[in-house]
């Protein structure tokens, strides 16, 4: 049985149909890439799964229970964690405290003692490679480290499903490489399922087991990275009409 099932979800903002009858599943220990052009509803989908928005229609089922109407903090306690597109660390708290708050809440809420939580925090901080800055306020870090703090904090809640909203955006190629290896390590060592929203195509193709493509709120394709890269519809969404593109290329060549 799949870990997460999003069933026929529809969400509108006024006249805008942000999500149109989207269905997708995430299996246990799977990395699902979620791609699509700007404004295609990727972040909205993440917000629906994490409980920021309630969809007008459809259901979200996590580990067999319907959580469509569950509050955001309760979903975290069930084992859903996320990061934000624009990093939202606790700026005035240290890296250690940031992650500690994650360790004290989430799925461990009320079940973990302070010492255990601190140990857990240390572990996770060293996993993402932030040990050298752990006593610095988070606002003093650079973008990559802040993204790592957010990742560590989400990880500390002990989730079964981790949603990363553009956690590679704005990083340099070497930083992307490092982040990807961390993400892979999270899945391999802890068996956490991951949904990755991403624009950097080679990264998603590289790390995902399966990819879902959204366009204008609709799911237009789904499959392994290989299938997606050969998909006619996806190419159209990203590059426009294939024929038109080819014609255009030809014309520029002629002119030159």
């Amino acid at each position: 049985m799949s870990l997460l099932l999003v069933e026929n979800v529809t969400k509108r903002f006024g006249g805008l149909l942000a999500l149109n009858n989207v269905t997708l599943t995430v299996g246990e220990g799977e990395i699902l890439g979620l791609i699509g052009p700007n404004g295609s509803g990727k972040t909205t989908l993440i917000n629906v799964i994490s409980g920021v928005y309630t969809p007008e229609y459809g259901r979200v089922i996590f580990k067999g229970t319907d959580i469509t109407k569950t509050k955001s903090y309760q979903r975290s306690r069930l084992g859903i964690a996320r990061t934000y597109q624009i990093v939202r660390v606790f700026p005035n708290l240290t890296v250690f405290e940031n992650v500690l708050i994650g360790a004290l809440n989430g799925r461990n809420y009320g079940k973990i003692v302070m010492n255990k939580a601190e140990e857990r925090t240390e572990d996770i901080i060293s996993l993402v490679g932030l040990s050298h800055v752990k006593d610095f306020p988070a606002k003093m870090l650079n973008v990559q480290d802040r993204k790592k703090v957010e990742l560590a904090r989400a990880l500390a809640t002990d989730p079964d499903l981790l949603m990363l909203d553009e956690c590679l955006a704005g990083l340099t190629p070497s930083e992307i490489f490092e982040m990807l290896s961390i993400i892979r390590k999270i899945r391999d060592e802890r068996g956490i399922s991951i949904i990755m929203v991403e624009h950097i195509m080679h990264a998603v193709m590289n790390v995902s087991d399966r990819i879902v493509v959204l366009n204008e709120g609709k799911k237009i394709a789904e499959g392994t990275p290989k299938e997606i890269s050969n998909d006619q519809k996806v190419a159209e969404v990203y590059f426009g009409d294939r024929e038109l593109a080819l014609k255009f290329v030809r014309r520029t060549q002629e002119n030159a």
């Binding site: 920021v52 955001s72 903090y73 975290s76 700026p91 708050i101 809440n105 989430g106 904090r153």
Partner: protein
């Protein structure tokens, strides 16, 4: 931190000085009484504003609720010491009711709500005429068998020390961390599994509980109550001022801030009576603009080496 915690030593030292002063003379005991009242208000504000980051302009309301509940119980011949506790509890219940409405909303509604209640409360007392109404009430004959300034001082001291210990514990507890998280980023805290509404409500109730106790003890000592004094919005600004002077979100900040403030006020009272409110209002504005982190913030920048040990 070693075996002996320097933070606890410095706080104990401050309390020891206060106790010593109060034994020195009757007038100093009165001053210490005022210091402790403001100190408790400041510490209770510290929980809701310093830790959870919610601006409350309503400490005076909970103070006044404590005053009136205490008076109401005492004139119905309830033991004053029991009434003090009950006064605090009733304030906490008021906070719960208010919090259920105000804490669901974001932005300035909470601050405005607390202000509006503070301003409305005296009208409620005058309009309904309960517990003396507009003209106030002298309760000396009800409490005289129990009355003793040193007992008042002692109960204040206990309350204040309990608050300090509570704040120390809170700073290193899951609850305290969740409040700090709410202060820094409300939405992120929610997605980490923190029930923000519940945590804020609890913090608000704790804050009101102690403000109410302070009010009740104040009424015990004054033995004369008036709606305009019990619900004086100046008290809210005093709490904010002392907390800002000392430093928000710290244990020692409110205590240090209050001592500085009351000493200063004493001096102003002697030199320029009638201008205190004017001077303190201006002081608050200056501090908000110039040193939002307070005196401790300034000291921290100055003496980095000792900062983690004491504060």
């Amino acid at each position: 931190m070693g075996v002996v915690n320097p933070r606890i030593i410095s706080i104990s030292a401050l309390y020891a000085i206060l106790i010593f002063l109060s034994l020195f003379s009757r007038s100093l005991a009165e001053l210490v009484f005022l210091i402790l009242i403001t100190c408790i208000l400041s510490q209770s504000l510290n929980i809701i504003m310093g830790l959870a980051g919610l601006v409350s302009l309503g400490q005076a309301f909970f103070f006044g609720t404590g005053v009136y509940m205490f008076t109401y119980l005492v004139i119905n011949e309830v033991n004053p010491y029991l009434s003090i506790i009950l006064g605090g509890l009733v304030s906490a219940i008021f906070a719960l009711a208010l919090g259920l409405v105000l804490l669901r909303l974001r932005g300035v509604y909470f601050a405005c709500g607390t202000l509006v209640v503070t301003l409305a409360a005296p009208y409620f007392i005058s309009g309904t005429g309960i517990v003396g109404g507009f003209a106030g009430l002298n309760i000396y004959r009800y409490i005289s068998p129990f009355y003793n300034i040193y007992l008042c001082l002692f109960s204040l001291l206990v309350t204040s020390i309990v608050m300090s210990i509570l704040t120390i514990k809170l700073l290193r507890s899951p609850f305290g961390y969740s409040l700090k998280a709410i202060k820094d980023d409300h939405d992120a805290a929610e997605t980490l599994g923190i029930n923000t509404f519940r945590q804020k409500t609890i913090a608000f109730c704790i804050s009101a509980l102690f403000s109410g106790i302070a009010g009740a003890i104040w009424a015990f000592k004054q033995a004369y109550i008036l709606p305009s004094i019990a619900f004086n919005p100046l008290r809210s600004i005093e709490a904010i001022l002392t907390m800002l002077v000392g430093g928000t979100g710290t244990v020692i900040g409110p205590i240090l801030g209050t001592i500085i403030y009351e000493a200063f006020r004493d001096a102003v009272m002697r030199t320029a009576p009638g201008l205190q409110v004017l001077i303190f209002g201006i002081l608050v504005i200056v501090i908000v603009l110039m040193a939002p982190e307070g005196l401790i913030g300034l000291l921290r920048k100055r003496f980095k080496s000792i900062r983690d040990k004491i504060f």
